[in-house]
Structures are given as C-alpha cells and as structure tokens.
Symmetry: C3
Subunit: 471 residues, 3 copies
Amino acid sequence: MPGPHPPLQVPKNISGLYIASTQEHPSTFPSKKQEQQPLMANLDPEVSGGKDQKSAQREKTDAGEPAVCTCQQKAKAQFLLLLSYFSGDMEVFAQWIKKQFFLLQLLDWVLRGASQVMFVNNPLSGLVIFAGLILQSRWLALNGFVGTLASTISAIILQQSRDAIAAGLYGYNGILVGLLMAVFSNAGDWYWWLLLPNIFMSMMCPIVSSALASINSRWDLPVFTLPFNILVCVHMVATGHYNNYFPQVLFQPRTQLANITWTDVDVAKLFRAVPVGVGQVYGCDNPWTGGIFMIALFISSPITCAHATIGSAVGMVSGLALAAPFEAIYFGLWGYNCVLACIAIGGMFYALTWQVHLLAVTCAFFCAYLGSAITNVMSTFGLPACTWPFCLSALTFLLITTETKTIFKLTLANVAYPERNLRFFWKLRKQERLEREEKSDREKEQEIKCSDKEMLRIEIERERDNVDGLQ
Amino acid sequence: MPGPHPPLQVPKNISGLYIASTQEHPSTFPSKKQEQQPLMANLDPEVSGGKDQKSAQREKTDAGEPAVCTCQQKAKAQFLLLLSYFSGDMEVFAQWIKKQFFLLQLLDWVLRGASQVMFVNNPLSGLVIFAGLILQSRWLALNGFVGTLASTISAIILQQSRDAIAAGLYGYNGILVGLLMAVFSNAGDWYWWLLLPNIFMSMMCPIVSSALASINSRWDLPVFTLPFNILVCVHMVATGHYNNYFPQVLFQPRTQLANITWTDVDVAKLFRAVPVGVGQVYGCDNPWTGGIFMIALFISSPITCAHATIGSAVGMVSGLALAAPFEAIYFGLWGYNCVLACIAIGGMFYALTWQVHLLAVTCAFFCAYLGSAITNVMSTFGLPACTWPFCLSALTFLLITTETKTIFKLTLANVAYPERNLRFFWKLRKQERLEREEKSDREKEQEIKCSDKEMLRIEIERERDNVDGLQ
Amino acid sequence: MPGPHPPLQVPKNISGLYIASTQEHPSTFPSKKQEQQPLMANLDPEVSGGKDQKSAQREKTDAGEPAVCTCQQKAKAQFLLLLSYFSGDMEVFAQWIKKQFFLLQLLDWVLRGASQVMFVNNPLSGLVIFAGLILQSRWLALNGFVGTLASTISAIILQQSRDAIAAGLYGYNGILVGLLMAVFSNAGDWYWWLLLPNIFMSMMCPIVSSALASINSRWDLPVFTLPFNILVCVHMVATGHYNNYFPQVLFQPRTQLANITWTDVDVAKLFRAVPVGVGQVYGCDNPWTGGIFMIALFISSPITCAHATIGSAVGMVSGLALAAPFEAIYFGLWGYNCVLACIAIGGMFYALTWQVHLLAVTCAFFCAYLGSAITNVMSTFGLPACTWPFCLSALTFLLITTETKTIFKLTLANVAYPERNLRFFWKLRKQERLEREEKSDREKEQEIKCSDKEMLRIEIERERDNVDGLQ
C-alpha cells in the first residue's frame, strides 16, 4: 500500500475509493484503518512478484496523472471493495455495530467468539460455523451457544478489557467448554441438567483466561485454548465415568497391539480424514461440517484455510507413521491439534515467509507426536487429549529465539490475521531497507565530499609547489 | 483512624493511650505502628456506618477540646485496649519477645508457624491450635511440633529473612509436613522411625519455600502451602503403600458408582461436617478439634473465622451437588481446601468488599470442583489431594486482572490480616477521594479566577468603548 | 593468580610463560584468557591453605627480584603448562580449531556435546566418553553419535548462538535422546528404522532448548537436560509398549512388597554401584564404562569427578535407607541423578565453599528421594524416570535465595568449570576486601587528619592563653 494519501486530493484508485467509503464511519483506530483494506485485494499480484510494476503504476496515480479506468477494472475494484467488507476481521462492521443496541453487539461478540477458536475474528465465519454445528447436532450447537454467551457475559461482569471482549477473545473458550462437555457426557443428548456445569465452567473461563494471561504476557504469549483444556479436564475428572449425575465417556489406556494390516487401509476415508480433522476442532466428526468450517476459514483468510488443510493432512500422515489404529485416523483425532498448531505458527503469530511455513509444518509434525503422547497419558486418568498438544507445541514454537530475520514474531498487540500480518511485516522490511539505503547514500555523499576536499587540498598543495618552484 | 498525632500533645483517647504504652517498646516499624492498634477496636462502629459521627468526634478530640469520658466509655476503652494485645498479629508481644532469650523467641516463632497455616500470625492462636491437636492425638501433635521446629531451625541455618521467620512463615509448611506424614503413615502411631523422614522433609521446607518464592514473587504471589504439598507427595509416592520401612495408607481410584440414596442423608452429620472441614486443614477429623481451631481463628480475626465457616459450608454443598459419597463429605474432605481458599481470597490478599466476598465464594466453589478432580488424579498414584486444590484455585484467583476498583489486591508486603488490610484500603480510598476533591476545588477556583479575569477584561473593554464613544 | 602483569616486562614465572605461549593464538576473549591458565596448576597448594606464603612469594617475583629457578621447578612448570592444554575447557584448542575447516569444527562440537552431559566442555573428555560407549555397545554409541550430530546441525540451521553451539550446549540433549531411545527400545539392537525418530527427536532438541531457555533465563537458570527428558518421554509414551513399529520396554508400577533381607546384601556389588551410577548417566550399566567416564571427568576437572563419586555414593545410601530392591541399587538407578545434581550444585553453578559442598550433598539426598518418587509416578505411564529428578532438584536448589555470602551463585554467563569458578569467586572476594580496607584506611587517615587539626587548634588556643596570660 502506498503511503498516506494527501487528504485533500480526490481519490482515484481503489485505495482512494475505500477511504472515501470509510469516512462515513469515523474510526477510533485511524492508524489501523490506513493499512487495512487493500490487503485482500492486492495480495495475489504482489505475492507473485508483480509488485514493482504495480507500485510504479501506483506512484504514477498518486502523482496525479490520469489513470485509464476500463469498465472491467471498475467492476474488479467494486468486487474487491465488497470483498473487503466481509473478509479479514470485518473492521467496518465492527465500527458500525458499536453504535447499535446492546443485544446486537452481544450477538456479534458471540459469533466472533465462535470463530476465534480458529484464530478468526469474523462474525460471518462465526455464523457459518454455527450452521455447521447445527448440521452436526442441534443439542451440541445449543451447548456451544450457551457456553459462548455465559463466557462473554462473565467477562463483562468481571470488567475485562472491552476491546478483547468485542474481538471474541472471551468467547472461544466458552464455546469449546460447552461443546466438548456435551460431546464427552455419557448421559445422552438433551440431558438438560448438563447446562448447569456448562454455564458454571463457561463463566469460569474469563477468570482462568485472565489468570493465565497474567503469566503468559511476561513472554508475550497468548493463552490459546488452555482455559478450555483446564476446565473441561477438571469437569471430566472431577465427575468421572462412575458418577450418578454427570457421567463421562470412558477413556482407557491401550493394553494390546493394534491390528494394522496395510491392505485394509481405505484411501477414500483417509482423504476424508482431512475435513473431519478440521471439524474435530469443534468436536464434530461429520465431514460436511468440517467442509463448512473450511469455508468459514476461507471467508476470513485464505492463508488460514490453507494451513488448516496442510495441518490436518500432516496429522493424518503422522498417525500412519506412528502405527495408530486406522479408526482413530479416519475419525480425525490425529488432525485437529495439527490444524490449530499449523494455523498458529503459519502466519498468525509469525509473519509468513517460506522459512516460517516450514516451521509450521515441523510444528504440525511435532504436535501429532505430542498428541499421541498426551492421549496416552490422559487416558490413564480417563481423559481425552483435548487441545493440550496444540497448546504445548505452539507455545514451544513461539518461545524460540533465533538470530535469523526471516522468522519474525509479531508482538501480541500487532497480531491480526495472516494477510494483514504479512503486510505489516513487509512494511517494516521496506522501511528498514529505505533507512539503510538513505544511510548508505549519506555515507557515499560524505565520502564524495571528503574526496572533494582531499582533491582540493592536493591541488592547492600542487599549486603551492608550483609557486614554490617558481619562486 | 485519625492522622498521626502531634507527638508532644498529651494523649487523651484510646489511640493516645496505646501510643503511650507502645512507646515503652520502641518499634522498628513505626509506620506500621501508627495504623496498627485501633483496627480491632473501632472496626464495628465504622463498618455499621457510624463512621462519620465517630470521625467527627475524633477530630474534635484531636483539636484539643475536652472530651467527656463517662465511666462506661473508659471501661470499654480499656477492654478494647486489652483486646488489641491478644488479637490481630500481637505486634506488641512480638516487639516484647524480641528482647527475651532465644528459646522463648523460637517458641513464639513455632506457635506463629502453627497458626500461619490459616494465614493467622498470632502465637495465642497457635497455642490454641496445639491444644486442639493434642485433643485429636498426642502422636500427631508431637509430629507437628517436631516438624515446625525442624523447619524453623532449618530456615535459621539457611539464613533466611529474620522477619519472615519471626512471622512464622517458615513454620507452617513444617507443621503440615509433620502432621500429614503421621496421618498418612500406615505404620501406626508411635512408630518412632517416622521422625527421621519427618525431620528431613521439614528441613527441606525452607529450601523449597525459598525456591518457589523466587518464582512466585515475579507475580507478587505467596507460596501458600505448595512446599508442603510437594514434599508430602514426594515422601508418599517415593515410599508408597508397598514399602518395608515407611508404608503409606492405600489410596485407589474409584471404579464403580457410589451408592447415593438421598433418604440416607444424615443432616446432623452434614452440619457437623462444617467444623470437621476446618479441622481437616490440619488433618484432624474430630469436630471438637475443628471447633477449637475456629476459636483460634476468631481470637485473631473474626473475618477470617467467618470465611473459614463459609468455605467449609460451600465445600459441603459442592460435594452434594457433584454426587460425592456421603462418607467423604461427613469426613470433611470436601471442606478443608475451600476453607483455605475462602480465607485467602476473602479479605486476606484482597481488601474485603462485597464484590471480593462474592469472588471468595466463587473461588470456594471452584476449589471444591478442582478438589474432586485432583483427588481423582492423585488417587491414580496412590496419593491424597493434600491442599493442591486450594493452592491452584487461590493462585488462579489472585492472578486475575480487572478494570474494576472494588477488587483491590494488596501487595504482598502490605498483607497483614483482613481487618488491617481493610483499614489500609479505606485509608487509600479516602486519600484518593481527598486528592480528587482538592483537585476539583482547585479547578473550580481556577475557573472562578478565569471568569473574574474575563469579567474584568470585558468591563475594561466596555469602559474603553465608552471612553472611545465619549471621545 | 596475581593481577595482570605489566605487559612489557619479560615473563619469569609460570603465568608469564603461559601468556607468552598464548600470544601465538590471539584470543577473542582477552579477559577470560588472563584468568584461565594457572587454575589447575596452583589449585592444590592454595586450597590447602598455603595461599599466603605463596602469594607473598609471588609478589616478590612480580616486584622484579631475581627468582631462583631450579631444574625441578622448570620441569614442574612445563608439566603444568602441558596439563593446561588438555584440562579445563581446552580454550587454546577451541581457538585453534576455529581456523580449521568446517567438518573438523563440527567434530569438536559433537565431542564437546558428548561431555556437556556432565557439564564438561572438553573434546578430549568427549572422546574418552565415546570410547566408553563403544565398550558398552556399538549400536548405542552409533545412536548417540547420530543424535549429537543431528542436534548440532539442527541448531546451526535454526541459527542459534554460534558460541553456545561451539561449547557443545546444543549437543548434550541430542546424545542423550539418541542413547536412551536406543536403550528403551524393545525392538532389539541394529533395528535401523529407529534412526528415523532418533534423528527427528534430536533435531527437535534445539527448538525445545531454545524455548525452555526463554523461560528459564528469566531466573538466570540453565535448561539442564529438560529437553531430553521431554522429548524421550514424548517418544516413549507416544509409541508405548504396544506399538507395531517402535515398541518400548515395559515399565510397571510396583504392586507388592520388595523382598529385602539384609543378609543377602552383596557389599562388592554395592561398591561397584558407584561407577555404575556414573555410567547410568549415559544409560550404561557396565562398571568399566562408568570408570572410563570418571576418568573423562577427571581430565577436565577433578572437583567435578569428586562430586560425581560423592553423588553416586549418596544415591546408593539413600536407596538402602528407603528400602529399595537391591537389584535397582546394584544397577545404578539410584545413582545417576544424584551424580548430576551433586556436580551441578557442588562447584558448577555455585562457587565451591564448604557450605556449598554441604548443600550439594543435601541436594543429592533430596534428589534420591525425588528420584524414587518420580520413578513411581512415571511407571504409571510406562515411563522411566529419565533425569527429571536431577533437573527438578537442581533447579530448586539454584532458586534458593539466602542472606549468607558463602553461598555465591554465579551468573550463567560466568559459569565455566568448578576450578575457574572458584578462582573467579576468590578474585571477587579479594577485590571486595581490598576495597573495604582502602575505605577503612581512608577513614583512618581522615580521623588522623581531624585529630591533627584538633591538636593544632588546641595548641593554638593554649598558646593564645599563654599569650593572654603574659599580657
């Protein structure tokens, strides 16, 4: 994106159009606004190396020269503008809803909370995700909704940061607590008493989140889904399989060899394990639901969607390599942690370069390994692995320090979505390069000056010699 | 409490009397001294809203006007003075004992250590607690005493902070290690060899305390009873049930449904579970011992005693809600962690407001939930839950950050006992209000001045106009 | 060691000789260089109290007076010089190898990595250790070598600090991962597929190390062998005993009393348990291998070797005291953690005084206790104890804060090997004493001056009086 436009000039290009449109919604974050919009629009040509021509052309446009706008270009511009309203984190919508009445705001927060499980801050994605949940099971969807709501309201009561609540950061643990408590309950669907511990545990989410954030913020780390992991494990192990009121599904350690015959492998089911793995992030085993979740990711951020797919595939392959029973792989149990780990490392908390992409894939493999380990450890206590493997592996990979500049960790305050993070990183890089060039230019000038002086001095001396010679 | 008295004036009221008496014991903490005494005395009237009249009256007294002292008032004053010598943290006694010979000091530290388990820094409470322990079992009391002594001496050898030792902060883990190692030993009472690991583990307490304090101090958190939890668990799991020298009681995971018939519930036993729960903090199942412990708490701080009772009741209710076997509830196993958690949050580390009181009750409920979870997890290793649930839940609730001012966390250096903490908080609040008022007064004055100037300017201009008009 | 020599003077004593020889290898660490060499040479006489005479003699030498050098002294000096090339951390060799080609450097790093398991940074010790491993089993040695290599190369790819890589700090977890994955594999020797997870896990070592260092550095703590513990446990529990590709040795919790008859004890085997305990650090049960490892330690640092022996003995005694089965004691399982803990505390991270020596022995006892506990806990998951007990106990003892000056913790940047650490500590102490003396001297002078002035004043007054009297 070019530098800030002169405010009085009539906007002529896409950026300009956008600025004109956003001026109807005066923003409280003007600095964010300026870099926000053309991210999705201009991404592809710039990635594919067409940057230099493009920016050259833009500089022309900025300089006030007439740009030839064909009909096709106009249509494309309008399409991209439309896209910018629905993709990314829907900043414009967030500004608009701020002036609506409270219940509508709360709904926005709940929907954003639902999508934040996958690091997506987008109410439309949240809506699509709820659609996927209803497709899976209405009882599940209800529990998820109650959990998100209870968690968000609890955060409001505890007077947590309003910005964080509005970004759905106090909802995503709630939806997971609600969903997974329903999934792991052995009392069957529509056991209404379950809503009691569901609401209590969801309301505990902001407390545990806030406490963990106090610790993790020392290393500028997010809390991920740790509150969900802690609270669901507490609920499950506190009641256990042998409980009169809230019995849990029985998990038991493996005590014999799995029967693995490679001729039995069902390749179609293996491929289907990829969307199922994405669906298992929310505890859903329906491949269609998983597909809907992938669409929800694509709406907000194609990079996130790509890494989710890669992560799920890596998990599936790891399962085959570590001699896991085929059933577990088909069921997506090897995928969901890798999905989250791959998204988190691949562009979300690091700026996406190809080194970071490799790191994300490595993290997904490590996460699968760790997942198998944690599954076995937890089964000793009758517990599922939840998303502990993702949390621990992603935290480990975020704590790395290295001397290379191609692995750039964003500060938590700057994290948005992969595309914007990337733009932020490029901007920083460009600025650095400019500064370096400026510095070297100045040094060269200095050198030239010095040599000029030197030349002058030599000339003077020579002339003096001549004069001496003459005398 | 009024501000610092002019030192040369003859003291006339309670505060004055007290200052006169403490001047015989020159204190090393003059700042603490000034706010120390009238806490217990004046608390009730101020809480009940009679603050304004009282402070108005006091201001009169301070100004040197004659205060009419009836006989009754004098008697009351003397009673309150007497009370101030025995309640709270017995600062006067602590100053006096500093000049006595070493063994007497050591005894004071041991007694304070015994009461510090419940966050009470009071040798009299410690004495009452030891009485309760002797009532429970003399062998237990002996082990507790040996543990406290070994732990305190170890801290002296390791040259830990003398102030912390004198406050009993290096004794409370020792007494718990001593008591609980005796309680969980399967070798029967008066098995003298047990004193060997008892002394070794008690002497490790200051080391583990010091190490944990290095970590926790980064978040200004206390170490609670974590050293005790770690060391008793290490001893128990290191030896285990099948050990030739130090066999432990057998703990096993639940593997079948508890038989819960609501008609079988014994209401009297349920009520008795409240004092039993308080007693179980020290591993005692005798309700009378529990009652004696409650008296010990009341001596030092009624708020602490109230929260202990509330916590124990909350634990009992949670046990019923989570379908626990009645026997465990009667035995106080659901209460003791909630007792400690409720005391810690309710006025000890937060200043007591009604919001904090609600938070303390929430923490007690969460602690009960967590307690059930940890009991089940630990039973896999043949271990009891110890006070892990209390430590983890209280630490979580102390790590919360919020934007509300009614939840005020004291820095560790300012923590004393609930009544004094409250006074400290009120003072801070009053000071803030005064500053705010002063500021707004100054602003108003400024405004008045400004408008005066403006008026003057306008007048002058008008006159000038007139003059101009005249000319 | 005396203070820095005047650089222009002709060197006459050992130190001088050394400086002359090292000037051929210009060092990038001049400050380290100066205190490096005579450590090993002068250690014994200084430790045994002959310090004062020695230093007095040295001061003479420095003052330029003629020192009588007999033939014997010369020979001794040359022997010590030779020794300084091979003992300690072989700094001179490290400087020399920096200018050799890459593969030779890599070999140096791998060898240093092998010895860093015992905190020794010495390629010669590393070579001796590999010899010991080959004596134990060639398959084991191969796995260890592959692990170290993979781990070091991974650190280079991840662009970790080159100094740390050159010190072998990214190799020691790799060798342990390689060795112990081979030891605990149930698939038998020469199962080549094992190299795949071996290489993957070894390459994860620098990532986990870097992440843990980010956390531990806040308390200036090393990561010890935590990455190895984490990664080997992850691999073992991820695959488990019942795995088709990578089955693990079966570990199970104890479920009955051990048969301990004191008449059955084999004293010779008990004594042999000491070197076996040292060998078990690398997973070797051959007493000769253990003996070779002790020689490797002695080459670099006799203090380290002594503490290793003490630690192993303490572990053996603890095993007897806690009623462990004799077989486990003979097998060295009670020793290896204590070996590492005793080395770490006894002179490596603390400067060695007799208080620190006692602390190291205490730490070894605690480590043995903790070792038994962790063995029992881990066996629930089918895992061995690895070196968790050492890591946890040593970290605990390094976190202690105390008011005594005789327990001096070195900052991580200053840690070298016990002998040099000691020298560093003595130098600091001497400097402090000198400063104190200087200060008191100045104060005395001030006093004398003052009293002189006073005397003068008195005299003047007296004379004036006399004059007055005369008048």
